[in-house]
Amino acid sequence: MNDAIQNEIIEEFDGLEWFDKYSLLISFGKKLKPMDEEFKTEDNSISGCQSKVWVRSYNKDGKLSFDLDSDAMITKGIIALVAKVVNDRYPQEILNADLYFIDKIGLKSNLSPARSNGLESIINRIKEVATNEANSNDLKN
């Protein structure tokens, strides 16, 4: 896992007040390329989130990337960061990933199993995709 990206994010948030943190997330959210409406299907959506979240994945040369979107801007900002960290990685890398940046930038409560935000569900979905890809790679080899 490329920890450099995580560390960069942590640095960017370091010392910020919550107001500036959220502003930053909102600006990341705004910059995230929206998903085409046609892909915002039930299958691509994640349940258990307060905001709607959609996930699609691509495999390019054995490396995985994710296209993520949400109807809430702060959620969008968070998943933009997640995408930045996990995109263009081998499935096994993703499976081994410790997304410590979430805790470090103070978004851990958004990760709680308490369902208020589905960040945990999102990460679970990403790892699930990676597991499936890893297994199907195994089969091919």
């Binding site: 919550w18 502003s23 905001s51």
Partner: protein, 393 residues
């Protein structure tokens, strides 16, 4: 009026260094010292299982439990305290009725409103009934004249007050019509018992359900009022305490209220409801209503004044909850930012997805009030909303 918040220790708290402005009271209310102390004192001095105990503590606990039943009975104007059963909450109460009436509901219709909480929809579906809503206009006024009662209609089950919009439904008009058709009425009073003086005789309902935790008492306990007319229905829950004789072949039940209280009830919880009623009555239900009405109207006025804010629902009488959205800003974003300012609101569908469907939205931001809220709390909310708007500029 003295500062009613002083009795609630949690409100002294700061969150993120800011004064806690708790506006999530429709989800659950905070507890006054008197309720908290009643619970710990009970466990420190009186705790025992009730009924059939031959010993001192059991007598004391039984007496306190039965006194709580009497207190609730008087509070809601029941004819007889045997009409009052302690349950696990509003959801528990409604499910109990759905189960008891189950066989008569299967394949029939239960009439609800369009603003119901899932807890007043799903139990009827599980009982095998069709659930239909009394029509309403776009302000969420019930169109009682358009209410259609057919020979399939076996029950009317309506929220007294909407947990999302704060609309007060005209339950008396409905019970009167129901009486003409000899159809029983259940009132979901989860969002009215803490706001309005209420009398089951006056309402004329057959069942009434509410939760302790939304009326300043503890979690895990609720009340089901069952009119004497239904004292012989089959109990929904079987177990210890509600039994006359049990054999493996055949079982006979006690009369209400014990008939409807299988198992060890939430003894401390029931006693906490009694303490909560004491607390409310010491202030006075009319005073509470008047004070809350002032704060509520003020919040409504301030929100309606704002550009870019949509407020949902507009009926003659409203109380408790107010729901809104900021234009182009997701309710969840709004809630997260308000939270960081110390303002606790709830966001989402508030367990009322059919209403969200009617309004054509995914969710709202909901501010909901209790006796300790003030106009200053509303000012903090409005300030918070302005901040949210600024951040999205």
């Amino acid at each position: 009026m003295k500062d009613l918040a002083n009795d609630f220790p949690i409100l002294e708290q700061k969150v993120y260094g800011k004064r806690l402005v708790y506006l999530d009271n429709a989800a659950t209310t905070q507890k006054p010292n008197s309720v908290i102390d009643t619970i710990s004192d009970y466990y420190r001095t009186d705790n025992s299982n009730i009924h059939r105990g031959a010993h001192y503590l059991s007598e004391v606990s039984s007496e306190r439990y039965e006194e709580a039943r009497k207190k609730v009975s008087d509070f809601i104007g029941a004819r007889n305290s045997s009409e009052v059963t302690f349950t696990s909450g509003t959801t528990g109460s409604i499910n109990q009725v759905a189960r008891s009436l189950g066989p008569s509901l299967r394949g029939k219709e239960v009439l609800v409103t369009g603003v119901e909480h899932h807890s007043n929809i799903v139990p009827w579906q599980l009982a095998g009934a069709t659930v239909n809503a009394i029509p309403m206009d776009e302000d969420c006024n019930l169109l009682i004249d358009s209410m259609e009662i057919t020979n399939k209609t076996k029950l009317i089950a309506i929220a007294h007050v909407s947990n999302v919009l704060g609309c007060v439904n005209e339950i008396k008009e409905i019970t009167e019509i129901a009486k003409d058709h000899d159809i029983p009425v259940l009132v979901d009073a989860a969002q009215s018992i803490q706001h309005l003086p209420l009398d089951v005789k006056d309402i004329g309902c057959d069942f009434l359900a509410f939760s302790g935790h939304k009326m300043y008492a503890s979690t895990g306990v609720g009340v089901l009022y069952t009119s004497d007319r239904f004292s012989d229905i089959t109990p929904a829950i079987g177990g210890g305490g509600m039994i006359d004789r049990v054999s493996l072949d055949k079982t006979t039940y006690l009369d209400p209220p014990l008939r409807f209280e299988a198992g060890t009830p939430d003894i401390a919880g029931a006693i906490s409801i009694s303490a909560a009623i004491d607390h409310m009555q010491k202030i006075g239900m009319d005073k509470i209503k008047k004070h809350e009405q002032e704060v509520y109207s003020y919040s409504r006025d301030r929100l309606l004044e704002m550009d870019n804010v949509t407020v949902y629902g507009n009926t003659n009488e409203m109380c408790g909850a107010i729901s809104f959205n900021l234009d182009n800003i997701h309710h969840y974003d709004t809630g997260l930012i308000l939270d960081k300012m110390g303002v606790a609101v709830r966001t989402g569908h508030h367990c009322a997805q059919p209403l969200m469907g009617s309004l054509g939205i995914e969710g709202t931001v909901r501010a909901s009030f209790a006796l300790y809220n003030t106009k200053e709390d509303v000012d903090m909310l409005i300030e918070g909303i302005e901040k949210v708007e600024m951040m999205y500029k």
